[in-house]
């Protein structure tokens, strides 16, 4: 038994809000009513409201205890491939909380929210400039939502031309899992396109599927192997030649700021992930924001409304910003104006970086990924001998050991690192997908590489140490089978709980 295993872990479980509840407690009181009481019809009244009762201090301590169980970007290195877990600047948080933004109602008349609308208009312009597209909507709520928007736009475009037989979406095997799901939601048939030996889209396989039933191709470039497709212009030309459109999955845009504008190489539609590329925090699973950019030919199909200038103004009057409904819009994809609070953070980030700073982001994101790849290549096999972009995929296999990528990932936690994405992409055996981002310094990258190299040693000398990892975290490996079999999905107040009333 290893030394670490011998350390007895204290039980750290935090009671639930429901277990902490005590009848009659409350964390806040409200003013007495200054109007007469109105009667609610008895037949409509609810009898019991069995939610917990806690004092403010109980609530704060509960969540403080829970917060200590979380790994976060503020706490350490988070090289989760495809997720772009870069540092989230603090100023962005302050900006989103300014009362002049936070207290605006989405249905205010445009004259009273010119600050918001001017900012959103400018954001559309900036994203157009960064990506090379003709128009942008800020409405979609997340990356997958942007994909759905984009696929609906592609479908609407073909339908508007009376081209109803196009039902086939081509998706490379190196794509994100959301791509097929987004196409499936719109009722399209998915055809998977294999990768060639260099990690590019297999051009011959692509050509074989290209006919007049193709809606388009959903291309992630750089792809989920972290590789820029060496034949990207041929791939796009091939799709265009059969009348299809090319969707660009913008999840990996952190490699391309000031390096390449996707619109310039012929991508027709693309979503941005403001919560990846433009530093807005992931919030433990959202909110994201997934604006979509399109070429001029697709502009009329964007979700309504987009932000535009509705009155040019003159020497004395500034332009008036307002809502514009594209002529052939697919309609709304959500209520109101998109994730404005997220857009504010991303806007602040872009404003501070400027054009040179944006290019620097991608340069250093790619530098960091290649540096880690170079340091780890001798220890963990990287299937493609190429310069990578902002991330790379290694095989989590150690010769002469039965440890798997999962074990390596879990063991990394003992070294106080968040593991890379594992078992994705599916086309690499025991994948470890590593994306360091530009905000990490050389010391951190070295410590991470050293840890992985040491873990590879451990895999040979003490594989059980890895199978049982993590050891130093407050919780060990979970019984996922039990969770799925028993399906305990919520908790309640104890049965003998009596409310104070």
């Amino acid at each position: 038994m290893s030394e670490i295993n011998a350390v007895k872990t204290p039980i750290v479980v935090e009671p639930t809000l429901f277990e902490l509840s005590s009848p009659g407690r409350t964390g806040i009181t409200f003013p007495k009513s200054d109007v007469p009481t109105a009667k609610l019809p008895e037949s409509l009244r609810r009898n019991i409201l069995p939610i917990p009762e806690l004092a403010e201090v109980d609530v704060i301590r509960h969540y403080m205890h829970l917060s200590s169980f979380n790994y976060s970007v503020d706490g350490g290195f988070y090289p989760l491939g495809s997720c772009t877990m870069k540092y989230n600047p603090k100023i962005n948080e302050d900006i989103a909380r300014l009362p002049g933004f936070a207290n605006t109602h989405p249905l205010q008349t445009i004259e009273t929210v010119q600050g918001n609308l001017a900012l959103m208009f400018t954001m559309q312009e900036w994203l157009k400039e960064i990506s090379g597209f003709a128009a942008v909507t800020l409405q979609p709520a997340a990356g997958a939502h942007g994909e759905l928007t984009g696929v609906l736009i592609m479908r609407a475009y073909h339908q508007s031309r009376g081209d109803a037989k196009r039902v086939k979406m081509l998706i490379p095997d190196s794509a994100h899992g959301t791509n097929p799901a987004s196409s499936g939601m719109v009722g399209l048939n998915i055809v998977q396109i294999p990768s060639d030996p260099n990690g590019n889209v297999d051009l011959d396989a692509l050509k074989a599927e290209c006919d007049d039933t193709v809606v388009g191709l959903m291309l992630t470039n750089p792809n989920t192997l972290g590789l820029f497709d060496e034949h990207v212009e041929d791939v796009i030309k091939t799709i265009h030649a059969c009348g299809g459109l090319v969707y660009g999955d913008g999840a990996n845009l952190n490699a391309l700021l000031g390096i390449l504008r996707p619109g310039d190489v012929g991508i027709d539609v693309m979503h941005f992930n403001l919560h990846k590329t433009f530093s807005t925090p992931h919030g433990g699973g959202g909110p994201g924001s997934g604006p979509v950019g399109v070429t001029a030919a697709l502009e009329d199909f964007l979700p309504a409304p987009i932000i535009g200038i509705v009155d040019e103004g003159n020497e004395e009057l500034p332009p008036l910003y307002g809502y514009i409904h594209p002529a052939k819009t697919i309609g709304r994809v959500k209520a109101f104006n998109g994730h404005f609070g997220v857009i504010l953070r991303a806007f602040t980030y872009i404003a501070m970086h400027g054009p040179d700073g944006l290019r620097k982001i991608s340069e250093y994101a790619v530098l960091n990924a290649n540096y880690l790849q170079a340091r780890l290549r001798d220890t963990f096999h990287v299937p493609f001998e190429r310069i990578c972009m902002h991330e790379f995929v290694a095989e989590g296999i150690v010769k002469g050991s039965d440890v798997r990528a999962l074990d390596i990932a879990k063991r990394l936690m003992d070294y106080d690192f968040h593991p890379p994405t594992n078992y994705f992409p599916l086309i690499v055996h025991e994948a470890l997908m590593i994306e360091p981002t530009e905000t990490e310094n050389k010391d951190t990258l070295d410590a991470f590489a050293d840890a992985l190299i040491k873990i590879a040693e451990e895999a040979k000398t003490d594989p059980q140490l890895l199978h049982d990892a993590p050891h130093k975290t407050p919780f060990g490996r979970m019984d996922e089978v039990k969770a799925a079999r028993e399906l305990v999905l919520c908790c309640w107040l104890p049965e003998d709980y009596s409310s104070a009333e």
Binding site: S43, L49, L107, G115, G284, G286, P355
Partner: protein, 450 residues
């Protein structure tokens, strides 16, 4: 200003390890004629300059704080206890990713588990997912559930015309490629009839009926009979709710709803010009395998400690790919946390108190407005904290006048229901004092006299 920490020496050492001379050498795969475009963007700003510039945008707005507001229509101004934002501002919560590694994500996982519990209790349902983008998309996902439940064999979805117009529009967008027919709200302005009208549309082909509670016009209908009618032909019923109202109102669960969804913004989330908000989604256990979105379940770790994991992930896009009910991935984690913190601070007492304040103040306002010559409350149906007023003049004119007096009037119903251009939807919450309501009444009187 950038957040890149490298010194020139470190950069050069790293380039050397990689085996290239300069940064540009890393980008040889990029087509040369498009490589390194000049971006026409404003030059870099320091944090100080950016803060000032952004403050300028913020100052160019009027807000619900600088004015007296009676605007609702799906987004409501409520008091947010200070502690909510203190919790949300913890980097351990807001800078974490989706909890894929449960050993180091128990904070997020347990808080989602508690959120799920709270939502099922408020709606009177059995299970809740970890959230959707907003109320509108949660309604659209209810259609996805019903579509999957009947494997596409039932193709009719009935939507009440008094479901929020933007939710209905979103639903139409989502279902474009699904071969469904959406009926019940086609260009009809006849919203006076209530749920009885909908019952006549139900048939064997009906997959789902969607209603709202309180509805867009603020009205409260008991949908028990409607639910029974839907179930007679085997269809499902989805009720979109305002969660604040459920602090005092009979739950859709009691009425027999199959799916209860809604906009969680009233639960401690700032108006923030429309987002990010919180779509919540609750249903019955028997539909769980067709429900989209993340789900947290209880389990134990290998040390015997109670803990939580993402469960039933085989339903989701990254495994089921094109056969998944939905493509949803990132959702509204931090906003779900906000609502759970809000609810746990308010507790039974506080949550009821907020709902009662809303109810009483809205009814006071309705009574006073109803007394003004030329104005009347349009329906005699019970309502919660929002009601429609039939006005003597177009609402846009009235609102302009109110604006001059520092009041944001109610929503102009005619924007979505063209024949109802004289109707104003007025929302009153605990944030509106009696003085504010009296001021509104006084100014409305003036408008009539002009």
């Amino acid at each position: 200003m950038t957040y890149i920490p490298h010194s020139p020496n470190e950069r050069d050492a790293m380039l050397e390890t990689i085996g290239v001379k300069k940064l540009d050498d890393l980008f040889k795969d990029i087509p040369a004629r498009h490589r390194f475009p000049d971006l026409n963007l404003p030059p870099t700003l320091s944090e100080m300059e950016a803060a000032a510039e952004l403050a300028g945008y913020a100052e160019a707005n009027e807000t619900t704080q600088t004015m007296v507001s009676f605007l609702g229509a799906g987004a409501y101004r409520h008091y947010i206890p200070s502690a909510v934002d203190h919790i949300l501002s913890r980097g351990e919560f807001y800078t974490a990713y989706t909890p894929y590694q449960p050993e180091i994500s128990q904070g997020t996982l347990q808080s989602i588990f508690e959120y799920q519990s709270l939502m099922t209790l408020i709606t009177g349902m059995e299970v809740s997912n970890a959230s959707h983008y907003d109320g509108a998309t949660a309604v659209a996902e209810a259609v996805n559930l019903a579509y999957a439940q009947f494997r596409g064999k039932r193709t009719k979805v009935i939507v009440s015309p008094s479901v929020h117009p933007q939710y209905r529009e979103t639903l139409r967008t989502y279902t474009q490629g699904m071969g469904l027919s959406l009926v019940g709200d086609d260009a009809r302005d006849d919203i006076d009839s209530g749920p009885k009208e909908i019952e006549t549309l139900i048939d064997e082909n009906t997959a789902l009926v969607v209603v709202q509670y309180p509805d867009f016009f603020g009205r409260i209908f008991d949908y028990t009979e409607l639910a029974a009618k839907v179930h007679q032909t085997g269809g499902l019923i989805c009720v979109a709710v305002n969660p604040t109202a459920l602090a005092i109102l009979k739950t859709p669960g009691e009425m027999g709803a199959d799916i209860v969804v809604g906009e969680g913004q009233p639960l401690g989330i700032p108006l923030s010009f429309g987002g990010p908000y919180l779509g919540f989604f609750t249903t019955l256990k028997k539909y769980i395998h067709k429900m989209a979105g993340r789900l947290v379940g209880e389990t134990v770790d290998n040390r015997g400690q109670r803990s939580y994991v993402l469960t039933l992930t085989a339903r989701e896009q990254h495994i089921k790919r094109d056969r998944a009910t939905s493509n949803i991935c990132t959702n509204q984690g931090l906003l779900a946390l906000a609502s759970a913190v809000y609810l746990s601070l308010l507790g039974q007492k506080g949550f009821k108190q907020v709902a009662e304040l809303c109810y009483n103040k809205a009814h006071y306002a309705a009574e006073q407005i109803n007394k003004i010559e030329g104005y009347s409350v349009c329906f005699d149906t019970p309502f919660f904290h929002e009601f429609s007023v039939c006005c003597p003049r177009p609402v846009s004119e009235i609102n302009e006048h109110l604006l001059e007096h520092g009041i944001m009037g109610g929503y102009e119903v005619g924007k979505d229901y063209p024949s109802l251009k004289d109707r104003m939807l007025i929302a009153v919450t605990e944030m509106n004092s009696k003085e504010e309501i009296d001021l509104l009444v006084d100014v409305l009187k003036e408008v009539n006299h002009e």
